[in-house]
Amino acid sequence: MSVSGLVITLSEEPSARDRALESLEAYPGIERGQLSDRWLPVVVERPDDESGEAVFREISLLPGVEYVDVVFVHFENADTKQGALGNGQTKGMHGSPQVTAASNR
């Protein structure tokens, strides 16, 4: 089992933000917290960390989602490494986007 605490940065644009919130409803295993301005805390619970990472990636690709920060990760078996903490970010510069396509900042 894996539990992650994420902060989703939503678009500044209200209609896009609403759309994102709607699509987030559709996700199983996501618990929404209190929206602060355009930052939404959520908890994602998954049976294993692989699918946890998949959810994380999918969320960052949703329209209206600018960025996803991982602030908390719990893995049940201790030797699983903390791979998810890359924040979906690709390292890079010089032509390659610094962040995933969804986070157009």
Partner: protein, 120 residues
């Protein structure tokens, strides 16, 4: 860097298997700087988490200061240039957070969820 089957670097081997001997540099550092010998001992209630978003190494420039100053060899490992905390090794001392030079400190000390002690 997408080289498959990359062999472990010597540094990785050493940081994983070499045990520390004597006083860790971080403690010497405090003394040398004349800083109060703030007790930076282990704190099992917390664990370090690296926020890639703010970490210089994840951002494409180079840094591994946390790895170098962590008193527990192997608690932070560098893979392809980016640091990762091995939760089971981290003692929660917080030294890495203290020294992280990123413009926004990339290290969060989070409560380690493992027992009723943590319930408020």
């Amino acid at each position: 860097m997408n080289e498959s089957a990359r062999p472990l670097s010597r540094r990785e081997v050493l940081t994983r298997f070499l045990r520390p001997f004597g006083e860790p540099l971080a403690r010497t550092s405090r003394r040398l700087q004349g800083a109060a010998p703030k007790d930076r001992s282990e704190n099992p209630e917390q664990v370090a988490v690296i926020q890639g978003r703010y970490c210089l190494a994840y951002e494409g420039t180079f840094c591994s200061a946390c790895r170098e100053h962590c008193p527990v060899p192997g608690a932070i490992v560098i893979n392809d240039g980016t640091p990762q905390v091995q939760r089971d090794q981290c003692t929660g001392c917080g030294i890495c957070q203290e020294i992280c030079p990123a413009p926004k400190n990339a290290i969060l000390m989070l409560p380690r969820p493992k027992g009723p002690r943590h319930r408020e």
